[in-house]
Symmetry: C2
Subunit: 222 residues, 2 copies
């Protein structure tokens, strides 16, 4: 349920790259993991023999620099510098702003705290925090709908990292049943398009132990 890792998984899927996924319980602050990323956060991409790339933004730029040209017209960050800046603006919008205002609250309260001891801050969700996230997501959904209604994809004519970042964040909220899809037809149609891409399949098959997804989560015709 780390949306940043989901973003990278979607990107790898679009590149047609296979990666072995290793789940990291970041709160354990495992020594070998901290050696890879002293910030102690996911995602971390390790490319054998010894390249380590840390963080959703750097990983997306790394994949583009090393494999982007091979994608041709399907490149996930393309166009002139201003168009590329727009992709990056929206990547940050979703990976930072949406995450801070929505996903982080929802995942922390509803998922992470289930797996923490009482000392670590575990327990049932703080519904005030959940309500804040649910209020915030409506603004984001409306912005996504506006973008999707005025452009082919969120950042312009082409599917880009911006779409993957938005979809990754939304997919976490959607698992938890916290996306009010009925409120915005444009946003819903855009998500339906991206959800039916092959890169999304693995995400839709994800299951958190002891916590089933909301019924619409894996439904392509939600």
């Amino acid at each position: 349920m780390c949306p940043h890792s989901r973003f990278v998984r979607l990107a790898l899927g679009e590149f047609g790259l296979h990666a072995d996924l290793i789940e990291e319980r970041v709160q354990d602050r495992r020594h070998d993991f901290l050696m890879l990323n002293p910030a102690g956060a996911t995602p971390v991409l390790v490319e054998e023999p010894r390249t380590v790339v840390v963080g959703a933004g750097p990983i997306s730029e790394y994949l583009d620099e090393t494999r982007g040209e091979a994608l041709g017209h399907a490149r996930l960050i393309q166009g002139d510098p201003a168009e590329r800046a727009e992709v990056r603006r929206l990547m940050d919008w979703f990976n930072v702003k949406f995450f801070t205002e929505v996903t982080n609250w929802l995942v922390h309260e509803k998922v992470t705290r289930r797996y923490l001891s009482a000392q670590e801050g575990g327990g049932g969700p703080d519904m005030d925090a959940v309500r804040v996230a649910r209020a915030n997501i409506r603004t984001h959904l409306s912005y996504i709908g506006w973008l999707a209604g005025s452009r082919n994809w969120l950042a312009g004519n082409h599917l880009s990292y911006a779409d993957l970042a938005a979809a990754a964040q939304l997919s976490c909220a959607d698992y938890l049943g916290d996306v009010p899809w009925a409120e915005n037809e444009n946003a819903k149609n855009w998500y339906a398009r991206i959800k039916s891409r092959p890169c999304f399949r693995a995400l839709l098959a994800d299951r958190i132990a002891g916590m089933n997804p909301h019924p619409v989560y894996a439904d392509l015709d939600f």
Copy 2:
């Protein structure tokens, strides 16, 4: 006192580019500014006639894409994809992690709240928040010292955006007298090197109305 804007000013300085600076009171949510950046945050770079680039990360990539080659060996993000990923990792470290754990607390409590009405949350600083920031900065200073002690510059052999991002964040804390320089000689020496670069001069001349900088702020031999 927006560290992200300071980072961009340092970058423009290294590129030898002049920009007209416009101060934006983001809490006013001015309509014309929201049209440039719906997130309502600084920095925003406008390049006439009509290119708008939003956010420290996208601006740094935009400057590199449009002017990077002209810098040659002084390019601020260079090397192979793994080396470039390291620059980006540290850019994120300082622009996101350091900002969240240190600068945001200090600037919000000590500066922003002076200019807010009581209704907006204005007033004297919450010293608990300031203490948290002061505790956190020690860890970051130690990490900077470790990087500076094992590399020529923070991300490797060359001055990079990583150094500018770290220096921009630190310069805000330094204005407020909240950097315990005596604790880490390597970090201090690295900061002295970057502080004496021409790009830093304009920052050292900055003054917040009614709030003088800490005595060491503009001192190159602190």
